[in-house]
């Protein structure tokens, strides 16, 4: 009987003791990822790399990490254990998502700090599969005997996994293709789960079709938010969240390159060809992207470019063109990225070529040939002239004559989408 009570007492005491895990004051403080194949990620500005001192901290800050598929992710963690008699033997392990766990390791103990050494996950990321872990959550545990484990909190940060090794970065500070944070985000978030090249192209492209491409911080990237943006490098689009056509073609190609998909002759440039005509030599010429509505009958004196607008001064606001006289009106037409009516007076345009298709990431449209662009995207053609009323053939100030001498910036226009033609050339991006 005495023995029974002793046993019962022991069980109660032991049971009570073994439930002490809730009373251990232990918590994970920081986690840092590493690995032979881990990418060094640039901030969205071409210059600096993101801080890789840690990937998660208990103050809530997180920093993304990126790896190619098939790679093992390594983790280091620091934890704090508040204990009157700090044990010398403490073990730590982590349970990650989808079996990507971090095995038990004997941790270094210094004061109240426990350090889990850099340890590779027990399995790698799945081979040839794009992954986006918005929450790469690891449940951390400690043990004093590797038998009984006590919860030590969890870490949670973002991890990107590319399909194959990313294409090599371009050299130089302003090299166009670099491992930018938001390129990983756009490439892996959209293509999450894709296992083939075709699937990745389709899924990444789908992000451009809805005219709302969001960066790492879930902020929209714009196409001509400023009507005269001069951003033509990929990093300027990411840094300023605004860019010309160049940058959008590059962003789409970069999202594929980061997944290891890269082919030569993938960057299509179209420029307005030379347009000699009977109304003098234009100082510049180009095309109008939809939609420009030809609202007044042409009053000008040029048959080749019969319509006329006269540029105001200044000639634009941040978001629209300004004319002091207009027969042709710029209206919303083809949606641009986060823009109902982006800039639409151009001398050139840039697109991406994948296979036998032409992708226009600025507008989220695919063409089968350059010929389709004329019919589907253009409202007409333009050229600049500079001269007095008599040169334009229009009573601009409405005083009943054509003899006013101040010179005007004359914008001659036609609604014939085949009046001009594109010169095309192709380079590799």
């Amino acid at each position: 009987m005495k023995s029974f009570f002793l046993l019962l007492f022991s069980l109660i005491v032991f049971g009570f003791a073994s439930s002490q895990n809730f009373e251990y004051d232990v918590a994970v403080n920081s986690v840092t990822f590493s690995g032979d194949n881990m990418y060094a990620i640039h901030k969205d500005d071409a210059y600096a790399y993101i801080n890789n001192d840690y990937n998660w901290k208990d103050d809530g800050t997180t920093i993304a990490a990126a790896f190619p598929s098939g790679a093992y992710i390594q983790a280091t963690a620091t934890l704090t254990l508040t204990c009157a008699n700090m044990p010398t033997d403490i073990y730590v392990r982590g349970t990650g998502p989808e079996g990507i766990n971090f095995p038990s390791q004997h941790a270094a103990v210094g004061g109240s700090t426990i350090t889990y050494p850099a340890t590779a996950s027990v399995i790698p990321f799945e081979e040839n599969k794009v992954r986006y872990f918005e929450h790469f959550t690891i449940q951390w545990e400690i043990s004093f005997d590797t038998i009984h484990w006590y919860a030590a909190g969890s870490s949670d940060s973002r991890v990107y996994v590319t399909w194959h090794d990313a294409a090599t970065e371009s050299p130089g500070t302003y090299g166009e293709f670099k491992y930018f944070l938001s390129v990983f985000h756009i490439a892996c978030k959209n293509a999450d789960g894709a296992t083939t090249e075709e699937e990745i192209v389709e899924k990444v492209w789908s992000d451009f079709v809805d005219h709302s491409v969001l960066n790492y911080y879930d902020l929209p990237l714009h196409y001509y938010k400023d009507i005269y943006t001069f951003n033509v490098f990929l990093y300027t689009l990411l840094k300023d969240r605004d860019g010309e056509c160049y940058t959008w073609a590059q962003l789409f190609l970069a999202a594929l390159k980061i997944n290891g998909i890269s082919y030569p002759n993938n960057y299509l440039n179209i420029t307005a060809a030379y347009m000699p005509n009977e109304c003098g030599t234009p100082s510049a010429s180009g095309f109008l992207v939809k939609t420009w509505t030809f609202v007044l009958p042409p009053a000008g004196n040029c048959d080749f470019m019969p319509y006329t607008n006269i540029w105001d001064y200044p000639s634009e606001t941040d978001t629209s063109y300004l004319f002091m006289y207009e027969e042709v009106v710029d209206e919303p037409g083809i949606l641009g990225q986060t823009a109902a009516n982006p800039a639409s007076v151009f001398g050139n345009h840039q697109l991406a070529i994948i296979g036998d298709k032409i992708y226009d990431p600025c507008y989220g449209v695919i063409y089968n040939s350059v010929d389709e662009i004329y019919e589907n995207a253009l409202s007409g053609w333009w050229y600049y002239d500079y001269g007095p009323e008599s040169f334009a053939g229009i009573d601009i100030n409405g005083d009943g004559d054509l003899d006013d001498d101040p010179w005007f910036n004359i914008f001659r226009l036609t609604d014939d989408v085949h009046a001009g033609e594109f010169d095309i050339y192709i380079t590799s991006w």
Partner: protein, 292 residues
């Protein structure tokens, strides 16, 4: 005696430390205030031209694509040069470098604008810009105005050679060009896929040479000397045109790391490591002395 030795050694050590600290402080001070330090990253494009004891050189602002024209006295530090904003420029190409193509003739700069901007067209890319029209460079100025000018202004001569070349060669990763005023006429040399074409503009008409075989994998440059046109390829081959006779260029380093210095006052030329011009406290004269 031993003690004295230690005291002497300690004094020497402290004196050295003071000198070291002073040197570091001066260096930091210079880094902060000296314009020469700020401009130490200057890297000129393709060539430096010397005319009437002045030097002319172009730097491209890699962020804005816009050119900066330096005009200074060859006997004074490069730092002291006037710097003008050029309404033309170039961008860094992804695959292959294409240095800014420019030259000087009769107080005008002739160049091929290779900036990327939505209003650009190749036909307007050949620029003849009078020096007197240039304004001082202002690093705080929004480059849009200059990019617009680069797209639309100073384009009296249409760049038909470039238009024709793009029509002929759709795939142009390996296209390179340079510009020259030779015997008063604009010449544009365009090389694509080991084929060189020399274009010249006379009486309002562009005329092209036959296609000439020229091996290259990078930029070509052209300059005039003794009434002959000289062409330099990225392999360091120097040839005269017409005829494409090979000469010894004297280039021992990577040609892309060299600047061509055209001394029109003495009718000579030299190839100088571009990095030498990074020391902007030197004069062009002093830099050229290093080549001898």
């Amino acid at each position: 005696m031993v003690k004295n030795k230690y005291i002497t050694a300690l004094k020497f050590l402290f004196a050295s430390l003071r000198l070291c600290v002073k040197t570091i402080a001066i260096f930091i001070f210079l880094q902060i205030i000296s314009p020469s330090f700020l401009s130490a990253q200057v890297k000129f494009e393709r060539r430096v031209i010397i005319e009437q004891d002045s030097f002319y050189a172009v730097e491209i602002n890699r962020a804005t694509q816009i050119g900066k024209l330096y005009i200074g006295n060859i006997r004074q530090p490069i730092d002291s040069a006037m710097v003008y904003a050029l309404p033309a420029g170039a961008r860094q190409r992804n695959l292959n470098p294409q240095p800014f193509a420019w030259t000087l003739h009769n107080d005008s700069i002739y160049c091929i604008n290779a900036t990327e901007y939505a209003m650009n067209s190749h036909v307007n890319s050949l620029k003849a810009i009078p020096l007197k029209n240039l304004l001082p460079y202002d690093s705080t100025e929004n480059p849009t105005k200059l990019l617009m000018q680069a797209a639309l202004a100073n384009c009296r001569i249409k760049n038909m050679p470039l238009m024709e070349t793009y029509k002929k060669y759709t795939y142009v990763d390996d296209m390179y060009y340079d510009i020259l005023l030779f015997k008063g006429a604009v010449h544009e040399l365009i090389a694509v896929k080991d084929e060189l074409t020399v274009w010249h503009y006379s009486n309002g008409v562009w005329t092209s040479s036959d296609i000439l075989p020229l091996r290259f994998t990078g930029p070509i440059s052209v300059f005039a000397l003794d009434d002959e046109m000289h062409i330099l390829n990225d392999r360091g081959d120097e040839l005269t045109y017409p005829g494409l006779k090979y000469l010894l260029s004297g280039i021992t380093a990577e040609p892309t790391d060299m600047l061509l210095v055209e001394d029109r006052d003495n009718n000579t030329y030299a190839f100088v490591p571009a990095a030498w011009f990074s020391d902007t406290e030197l004069t062009v004269k002093e830099i050229l002395k290093k080549t001898k």
